[in-house]
Point group: C2
Chain length 455, copies 2
């Protein structure tokens, strides 16, 4: 029995104290920047009605939703034929009405529509919560992971894009992750589809283009062929995918190529404005116009943003874009928004790989009082109360065991100071403090100790 | 279509920015005190294997677990007879292997056993995460709510109880909630069962006693009778339930009544020690020995702690106790622990009812820059960058709309300062700042503004 070890579902994780400190460092940094830019926090329930979630993430997404079995007699009103014919789909909707949040965007759209009368538009909200996907777990992909989203909804101003790019730059500068911010515009992609003569195949084209980094141009062309694009169109597409030079060069080339497409031209002028203002304000990250940037999601209508780490191969660590009709799915149309989502767990992996945590975020400027037994502890409790009132973290070892054991507890817990209040110290009304880092030892009055540590 | 409003599952809630500020104030306060007392944070997955959760909360609890439908073909390997005969139990275990966390205690026990080789004992952990229960929603009872737990595991020292009581006192003092901390000891209850001649009926007795506040002593006696206790035993119990006086009187009375019960006597000496040390250190809350305090949970073996608010009728807002064998259910025996759980959502309700939020926790020392268009905005973005580098929250209204609209946005968002950088200000290289509270208006250089607000 004693050898039996319980486990957790695959794709989920426990986080130890050290891991939590590191994760909190990342979340607090992102949160701090969100606030600095005037975003306000909301939270939505982990559980949403499946009617809210289904059909919003494509067929594949519907499959990846974690569905919750109805409580009580989930079989009542279930027609036997559903079982007999194993009609999974209809059966599922009968026995399960609720599911776990799959991302923060759809619940946000639902929130905006549901509370539209209480919301002051433009609405700048941030949200940091876990999401769940019944994906096949693999390195860097989990079934429960955190998203950190910031969206501005109710304004189509491109200044919002500029602000979000500044925000991204600030977050990664603070975390110490060197990044490239990739920019594109869905209207440019639409223009491309138009001028190569495949205006209705935008999705096919973007889905294929999206893979160019992973599988290369030849395989993309193959896929486009499979998807039924004409040889002619694929040829017209090639030069566009090969656009080179700095952002200004790229814009100039695109202007020429897309001059006959009104949509495409609008897309270029939008991206030109966002790029020029952003560069004018100044960024620490690099920023690239990348026409191959499409992203899987199909609700983007304008700007598309993606962030990659320079020093690690791990794919996108942040992404977002503009959607002109996100809330339309819930009956509120013509509300334009733009948002970004930080992939906290990937960022956590990057931080670990590059060991970017500042020392102080892991130091424990903490005091452990040695436990010498009843009489001394009574004194220690009163001392601790005063220290805590001064905002200093301290604790007493709960049992009066050997000093050696208490000290090894302190070092294992990575506690910086060990305080000794024995018979003698009580007489002298002093506290002996041992610095575990350099094992120097000094005597202090309570006031001196507070002064020393308050620094 | 536009009138259709989406909804969320009953018993769940959306939290608006103002509500989030208030909730964060509560969570940050609790978190801060947990840290001050040397507790370290962990997190466990929202989803646990049902084998971990089932059977830990009693039959009723099993029913209230949210169960997740297996992904993919959940019908394969399901014997037809199960749903033909509507055998809900066995069918459920076939089609659902995972469930949502019901509390933080069982996952913590699972965590300790699973990671016992990495853990330094005594292990002081805190955990602040949501839990889910398919309970019938009602006022103050939700299907998704937060628990804030602190436990010390791997030590049977009563100093841990003392520390937790100090911690509780500190949290509610900081929140401004006047409380009474009720203390009891399971060994006292066992002693009582013993001396009234019903040693094996401890559970029946405690479950009944637990209701004394709600239904009164007569109904409790009825219930005890129904539960099959002898008239004689019930009579012996009466004086015990009527114990009066201050804590010292109560202890003296109990000592006499329980003198023939070894267990009972041990329980008294434990509670006597915890009470005397706590009172000696000093508490802002009242602390009462309450023999009627039993709490539903059956795993407590020693101290039992419950906190009630003085100024609101809402039941327990914090509870906990000592369990000598919590991890036994996962195969690791003889690990004693003691813990408490703050009911964040009830505390939130109390804070709202008594309106205990300090003004500063809701002030927005924030600047909105009026948007006058392209040229001015370019300047504003550079100013905002400098303000944010100084740690000051600011934003620009995204569209160059009428000033009136931009100002009403500021007041609706409860933004304290509105900054004006028009043509003239740009020439003078100054910023006009309007204080929305007293609508006073002044001109500043950037440096002056930073200095003014940094305070």
């Amino acid at each position: 029995m004693a050898t039996y070890k319980p486990s957790i579902p695959k794709g989920t994780r426990d986080f130890s104290p050290i891991e939590m400190e590191r994760r909190n460092y990342i979340f607090d940094t992102i949160k701090g920047v969100f606030r600095l830019f005037g975003f306000n926090q909301i939270e939505t329930p982990s559980i949403e009605n499946l009617s809210t979630l289904m059909g919003k993430y494509g067929e594949e997404g519907d499959k990846l939703l974690f569905k919750i079995l109805n409580s009580g007699d989930f079989l009542k009103n279930v027609d036997n034929s559903l079982w007999e014919n194993k009609e999974l789909g209809p059966l599922t909707t009968k026995i399960s009405e609720k599911g776990l949040r799959y991302d923060l965007t759809v619940p946000f759209a639902r929130f905006v529509v549901q509370h539209r009368d209480e919301i002051q538009f433009p609405f700048k909200r941030y949200q940091i919560q876990p999401v769940w996907r019944a994906d096949r777990p693999q390195k860097g992909r989990y079934r429960e992971f955190y998203q950190c989203d910031a969206d501005i909804i109710g304004s189509d101003s491109l200044y919002n894009e500029v602000e979000l790019i500044q925000l991204i730059d600030e977050v990664f500068a603070r975390l110490g992750i060197r990044t490239i911010i990739k920019l594109n515009n869905r209207k440019i992609l639409a223009g491309i589809a138009e001028i190569i003569g495949e205006p209705d195949r935008l999705t096919d084209i973007t889905v294929a283009i999206d893979k160019i980094d992973k599988i290369g141009i030849d395989k993309v062309n193959e896929e486009l062929k499979e998807r039924g694009l004409s040889h002619n169109s694929i040829n017209k597409l090639k030069p566009i995918l090969k656009i080179k030079g700095n952002n200004i060069d790229r814009i100039e080339t695109l202007k020429k190529i897309l001059k006959d497409s009104e949509t495409g031209t609008k897309g270029i002028s939008e991206i030109e404005k966002v790029l020029s203002i952003s560069e004018n304000i100044g960024l620490r990250a690099g920023i690239d116009l990348d026409v191959s940037l499409a992203r899987g999601l199909n609700y983007y209508t304008g700007s598309i943003i993606e962030v990659k780490a320079r020093d690690v191969e791990i794919g996108s660590i942040t992404g977002g874009g503009r959607y002109d009709n996100l809330t339309g799915i819930f009956g509120l149309s013509d509300v334009s928004g733009v948002g970004i989502s930080f992939g906290a767990d990937r960022i956590y992996d990057v931080m670990n790989m590059l060991d970017l945590y500042p020392a102080e975020s892991q130091a424990h400027n903490e005091i452990l009082f040695v436990n010498f037994g009843e009489k001394e502890s009574q004194v220690v409790f009163k001392i601790m109360k005063k220290l805590r009132n001064a905002g200093l973290t301290c604790e007493i070892y709960p049992d009066a065991v050997k000093l050696k054991k208490q000290l090894s507890y302190a070092s294992a817990r990575n506690i910086k100071f060990v305080a000794i209040v024995g018979e003698e110290e009580i007489k002298e009304n002093l506290i002996v403090v041992k610095d575990m880092e350099n094992s120097s030892q000094n005597k202090y009055t309570l006031e001196e100790l507070i002064e020393k540590l308050a620094k």
